[in-house]
Amino acid sequence: MTILLLSALGVIGLSIALCLIRVVRGPSLFDRVMAFDCIALCMVGAILIMSILLSTDVFMDVVLVVALLGFLGAVSLAAYLEGTLVD
């Protein structure tokens, strides 16, 4: 079971690497914002697998906060880039 969870963590790390390639490539700023959102979701998945590995429930709050921050970051950056947030 530990080997399965560790390899699952490895696959999630690979997913974050793929999203990072998209962050570097772009081509538009919105692609970067969207890839960062995907990285935040992958981080949440990694945190969940870590909480199974360590068999603790203290990371459940981290899940909620990271999901909230990812959403807020995407929305605020979209509003800023669209030009409706600042005049």
Partner: protein, 127 residues
């Protein structure tokens, strides 16, 4: 529980693969909203089954509701902002209905789109 972990991680990987491989922004923005949400639901299920506590179940349900509500909204806001600032779509995008809507609205109100604060169209050909 191991099965839920495998399925969840598979969907997270599919989401990242879609972010990297799909051809234009408007199709790429679909990948993390749908696939990653499904993957997170399965991972939360695995954690809940493994720990089997009421607190974890409550927070997992809260997280699922929150992610299922915010991920489509965030993707929609991102795609709309991208369209209005002129991020190019793939040439295979055939019916472009929002262009007609924007054109009609511009004729009715007689004002242009809000100018973007930053130039987002940095389309480097070598990338």
């Amino acid at each position: 529980m191991g099965g839920a972990v495998v399925v969840g991680v598979f969907f997270m990987f599919v989401a990242a693969l879609g972010v990297l491989r799909l051809e234009d922004f408007y199709s790429r923005v679909h990948a993390p909203t749908k696939a990653a949400t499904l993957g997170l639901i399965f991972l939360l299920l695995a954690v809940t089954v493994y720990l089997a506590e009421a607190v974890v179940l409550t927070k997992a349900i809260l997280a699922v509701l929150f992610i299922a509500a915010t991920a489509p909204v965030g993707a929609h806001i991102l795609a709309r902002a991208a369209y209005r600032t002129g991020v190019p779509a793939s040439p295979n995008t055939r019916p472009d209905e929002y262009a007609g809507v924007l054109e009609r609205r511009r004729r009715e109100t007689g004002q242009d789109e809000p100018e973007s604060a930053v130039d987002v169209r940095e389309d480097e050909p070598g990338a």
